[in-house]
Symmetry: none
Subunit: 191 residues, 4 copies
DNA sequence: AATGAATGAGCATTCATTCAT
DNA sequence: GATGAATGAATGCTCATTCAT
């Protein structure tokens, strides 16, 4: 049975997200993806020239949005720190998650072996920079002699936390509430 | 060279920790382990029936201690909450790390594909239980209507933070100081 | 664009000659041929049932002419040996080369895996027959006890030489001069 | 059934020579080689790390000898041109052929895609240089205005002829006689 | 006990050929 | 007539595991 091109492409991407999500890039099997997309291996390669190309197709958009948003937030905060940076970050993740939560997780947890393997680190570093330069100095008693690595750990925990909450909830109402509570807990001094 | 059985076993385990630590369970190579243990593949299989068996041998003890300690801490806190639970947890990780830091990290980050793949989740769940039952109720204003999943996220961030800091420092002095600062930040209300 | 059948066929053949010439039969790609002919793979198979069929179509005429000419030359020489046989052979190659040099080379150097793979051998055998029966007996001192296989080698070297020179030069003037010099060298005794 | 290492290696090399000889490097199949060597693919790769490595193993010695001999001959002739250069070349091929005729042919005709693909050209160029610098100037009437490409064709025909004769005969007596006759024909003016 | 040769299924990728549209 | 999506077997290569010695 002849299927429309776009439909097949979507099937492949769906199957690819599944596979990359379960196994990560390195251990994902093109055979398995083809099978779950309901096509043959040969045909898969008509749509994507190799594994990395498929990975890229599946992750590109999400990656671009993520970087764009994070940079935007940091820019925002540097100039006019009205709303909390952390709330902006949460909004970012919320904006991305709508359709791309799994892609985001693949990006962060399953991209070893691709050109994206350092993305998580980079995002954390950006947040860390903010934590270090803007957030911590505002807290009483913390700055003196604080181990600089702590900023990194905090930034990392914040990002991971956001992702976990996003993984957990589908309902956007619950989601916002949970994120808000999380930020309150995590950065309670800034409230 | 005639090697005693026990010595060979130890060599294998040493090499296996190295390999699992660098590559994780899935991508670890039995050949590489045998080579680095100074024995042949065939002989490796006399000591361990398959890859999972070897993984188990290498991780079993650490896993048992981890679970034991965590349970112990939770028991402790339930009865006499003198020292902070979180400091106990930090002590636990510190106690394990002395000889088994890498095993701990393997357990948490490289056990996908084995029966241990949910250990991190389980430990987090135990910590979460404490956070939920003992810690949060003690904080003013937070408990009412708090999303229960937040406890999970907090527990998770705490564990991940401890691991990151342990990975970062070798010097036990720096380590304790960083952990202490981290706990102060993370659970600042309990100070 | 509505293309006439014959024009499409010609496009395919043109593309096929290119491809077979560059890669030989075995390594030629049907996809590449279709692409360079400006049609789709599927359509290519409407014109030619498979790769060998296409090869045949492209080479058939050239092959037929080659065999015809060589036989003709031999016939000529048997009856009236005016002009040198070797010059006739050179003329043959020259006549074919005008439009079909690449087909000739494909036939001689890229037909492995097809029914034409022995053509070179066959042509050589025909020339050999002449060398043996007509040419060598005319040379003083050579015939007695001459290894019959030498005729084969000589014939082969002659054919290969003609092809090399044809590959080398496009200008028909240079070509004739080089061929003439080659024959002079190769069969100097007959001059 | 457990076979000795060296025997298996030899079986592989035998099968590889067969395959490379029939198909050339590019079209040779590692599976086919393994099968004909009576082993599995996996085992083949215990002996040779990849296709090129196997090719190299099969051809290395022959290639080294060939180059060594040819250079030696050229050196010889430049200094003391007693015995004919061409006879030296013939001796070279004879020396190699004893055990390595097929390897020699693989080197000349089936090495496309490997680091050896230009060997034939290089050998021909060396011979050509001699033909051009030493041989042709000694022939009356030929040098003036002779197309320089003719030297190349002559050198090539000589090498190909030697190989053909070698392919033909196993008996070294017949072989020497044929080669001698061939040289006499090919370079009759130098006699 | 130990060796390391051997197995065989798995991997990503390519390509001549077929066929529903 | 023509399209190009789809097929499936083949390619080189890897690796956990087994087994004759």
């Amino acid at each position: 049975m002849q299927t429309l091109k776009e439909e097949v492409r979507n099937n492949i991407c769906r199957a690819a997200v599944d596979e990359f999500w379960k196994k990560g890039f390195c251990n994902a099997s093109m055979r398995a993806i083809a099978k779950n997309a309901g096509i043959t291996v040969g045909n898969l390669y008509r749509y994507f020239k190799d594994k990395e190309d498929l990975f890229n197709a599946v992750i590109f958009e999400t990656h671009a949005r993520l970087i764009r948003y994070v940079k935007h937030n940091i820019g925002l905060m540097m100039n006019r720190p009205g709303k909390s940076f952390f709330e902006h970050m949460a909004d970012t993740i919320l904006a991305i998650r709508k359709e791309n939560l799994r892609e985001l997780i693949i990006l962060f947890e399953g991209s070893r072996g691709t050109r994206y393997e350092n993305v998580k680190e980079e995002v954390i570093n950006m947040v860390e920079k903010f934590v270090n330069d803007e957030y911590l100095p505002g807290i009483k008693g913390f700055t003196k002699g604080l181990d600089p690595f702590i900023s990194h750990v905090i930034a990392s925990g914040f990002i991971e936390g956001l992702i976990m909450i996003n993984k957990r909830y589908d309902d956007s109402c619950q989601l916002r509430r949970a994120i808000s509570q999380f930020i309150n807990f995590y950065f309670q001094n800034s409230i």
